[in-house]
């Protein structure tokens, strides 16, 4: 007997030994009871069930011996779903995945229809467990209007836990601008960004070889809803594609691979595909970046950034020939990179680029009205697995970034994220150093970060400066959005610094006065 239950994957193998009977053809040995429980993000105790039966009817008693044993309960993906999930259906889905750089950008255009009877306020997006940990950002827009008059409305996207989710898929819930009534459709555009998803294969390459990578995904979009029609496009950086898994109908034209159209797929259907292609774009990965923003009320913001940069692609094996690298630059070191670009604020001054050895002179700064660009090169080209550590620092005027809010508090409005273009930061720490005498610091960001407070002792400090530490993992260039740090500050505290200097000079004068007035004569005149 088989029992299907709405619960995570359970396999039980059971056997039993029963007493011998003349009608029994073969004895069955007792085997171990196995319980394989796949971890689910939300353990729902009510859904975990172990069911096994054994019914033994003695032949002597009833004239027939019915053996029911070895109940193998394999509980599969719960296709019964949840009542709210089946209210929605995706009429048309188009997914464009851009794998031209090492940051994978996917654009999903979904046309969602409400086939239930009540308005639905939110919908779910599902991601396979391998993608969930590499997901850097998910954004959703609602599209209204047609063709030229499209308007885009950003929607709230939140990660959600589902009770009894099948197959450890991760979910995000998108709240509609207004609840979707029965029979209505809405078109959504979802952008999600994956990092570290291009796996170099072969894992080690020599200097003259090109870099080939694997990208694993599904030809069919993983979704909690039924999808009536869908197509997936992959955009590769060059026309060299070694292979791609063929799931009919799939074909390739130039730099584009098209999977689809697929009709009528059940919820949570998933067909894994692998695309093996050439990608020589610079795999610039910053392992750790510490940005320190020091606010001085005397007129400037000093930013110091400590980088640990690596090449995150196929590791370099063999020798590095400088002659080959410089003479045959187009073939040699195709996947290596030397030039990097940092986008800095417009009115920037006192920019320096150095490392532990000293100043690095291979850099060019171009200041502009909307932004400044710093083109810089590490001391050596970066091949797979190679590292470079350096510090970039610059100063910007205070009035561009420090403002007074309507309730009297001051706030700093600055961009979060790494100034380098097309770079993934594995661990980003932003430290905002508030001047001495600041109270009640708080940070406001459009996404979640880890916040902390520290104390830093700097020039002319008595009690130390409060530092607001914001820490985030897996940061991509789309995280370069403004954030605010609020604090209260009484302007009178600015006088603490000159007062310290004044009292130091006064002490010198008083000491000289004392020296002049003290009478050390033994004999009285």
């Amino acid at each position: 007997m088989r029992m299907a239950a709405k619960c995570p994957l359970l396999i039980i193998i059971n056997g039993l030994r029963v007493k011998e009977s003349p009608m029994l053809s073969q004895p069955f040995k007792l085997r171990k009871v196995f319980l394989l429980h796949v971890n689910s993000p939300a353990d729902d105790p009510s859904s975990v069930g172990i069911y096994f039966f054994r019914i033994a009817i003695s032949l002597d008693e009833m004239g027939a011996r019915i053996w029911i044993f070895s109940v193998v309960v394999a509980v599969f993906l719960s296709l019964s779903g949840f009542s709210s999930a089946q209210d929605l259906q995706i009429v048309n889905a188009e997914r464009r995945i851009d794998v031209s750089s090492h940051i994978v950008k996917a654009f999903l255009t979904l046309k969602v229809e409400n086939i239930g009877k009540s308005p639905v306020a939110e919908m779910l997006l599902a991601f396979p467990p391998t993608q969930i940990k590499n997901l850097a950002m998910v954004q959703a827009l609602a599209i209204t209007g047609k063709k030229k008059k499209k308007t885009y409305l950003p929607l709230d996207v939140k990660p959600t836990e589902l009770s009894g989710p099948p197959n450890d898929a991760g979910h995000f819930s998108i709240s509609f601008a207004s609840p979707l009534g029965p029979g209505e459709t809405v078109t959504l555009e979802v952008l999600y960004i994956l990092t570290h998803s291009l796996e170099p294969f072969p894992m080690e390459i020599a200097q003259s070889e090109s870099q080939l990578v694997y990208y694993r995904d599904s030809a069919v979009i993983l979704s909690p809803y039924h999808i009536k029609q869908q197509t997936t496009f992959f955009k590769t950086p060059s026309t060299r594609v070694e292979s791609f898994t063929s799931v009919e109908p799939a074909n390739r034209a130039g730099k584009e691979i098209k999977y689809g159209p697929y009709e009528d797929r059940a919820p949570y259907s998933y067909t894994p595909v692998i695309v093996h292609f050439e990608n020589n774009s610079p795999f610039a990965v910053v392992e750790e970046l510490v940005r320190e923003i020091e606010i001085s009320h005397w007129g400037s913001l000093q930013i110091t950034e400590n980088y640990k940069l690596t090449h995150g692609g196929a590791r370099h094996k063999g020798v590095f020939s400088r002659v080959d690298y410089q003479s045959k630059r187009s073939i040699s070191g195709a996947s290596s990179f030397i030039g990097l670009l940092a986008v800095l604020p417009p009115r920037v001054n006192s920019v320096y680029y150095r490392d532990e050895i000293g100043n690095i002179s291979t850099s060019h700064l171009r200041t502009g009205f909307r932004k400044s660009e710093l083109e810089f090169e590490p001391r050596y080209p970066l091949f797979g697995g190679w590292r470079a550590t350096f510090i970039i620092g610059y100063r910007v005027p205070l009035e561009d970034y420090l403002f007074e809010a309507s309730d009297g508090r001051r706030y700093l409005n600055f961009t979060f994220g790494c100034p380098l273009v097309e770079t993934v930061v594995n661990k980003l720490t932003v430290k905002v150093v508030l001047p001495e005498g600041s109270k009640d610091p708080s940070a406001v960001l459009p996404f979640t970060v880890n916040q902390d407070l520290q104390v830093k002792y700097s020039y002319l400090d008595i009690v130390g400066r409060t530092v607001v530490v914001l820490q985030k993992d897996n940061v991509v260039p789309t995280h370069n959005v403004p954030f605010q740090v609020y604090y209260t500050f009484k302007p009178i505290y600015m006088l603490a610094e000159p007062f310290m200097l004044v009292s130091a000079f006064f002490f010198v004068f008083v000491a000289s006065l004392a020296y002049v007035h003290i009478d050390l004569n033994i004999a009285k005149k």
């Binding site: 005397w298 000093q302 205070l398 409005n413 020039y459 600015m494 610094e497 000079f505 006065l513």
Partner: protein
Amino acid sequence: MAAKPIASPIPVAMYPTLSVFTLAIGLVITAIFFIYEATSSRKNRSLAKELATAVVASVFLGFGSLFLLLASGVYV
């Protein structure tokens, strides 16, 4: 939302000029102080005068060194 930018109370471009002038005045008053110490005899000294000169000199020197620090890029 009222976004009033906050700037330094003294224009940043004036820091070098201010530092030169305040330091110059401070050094002149320091000179007056030490000349007074050197030329007056024990009987004629007036503590009030000495202290007043010392206070004024240290104020000017203190602010002068602050503006000198700011002008040279050490934004304290």
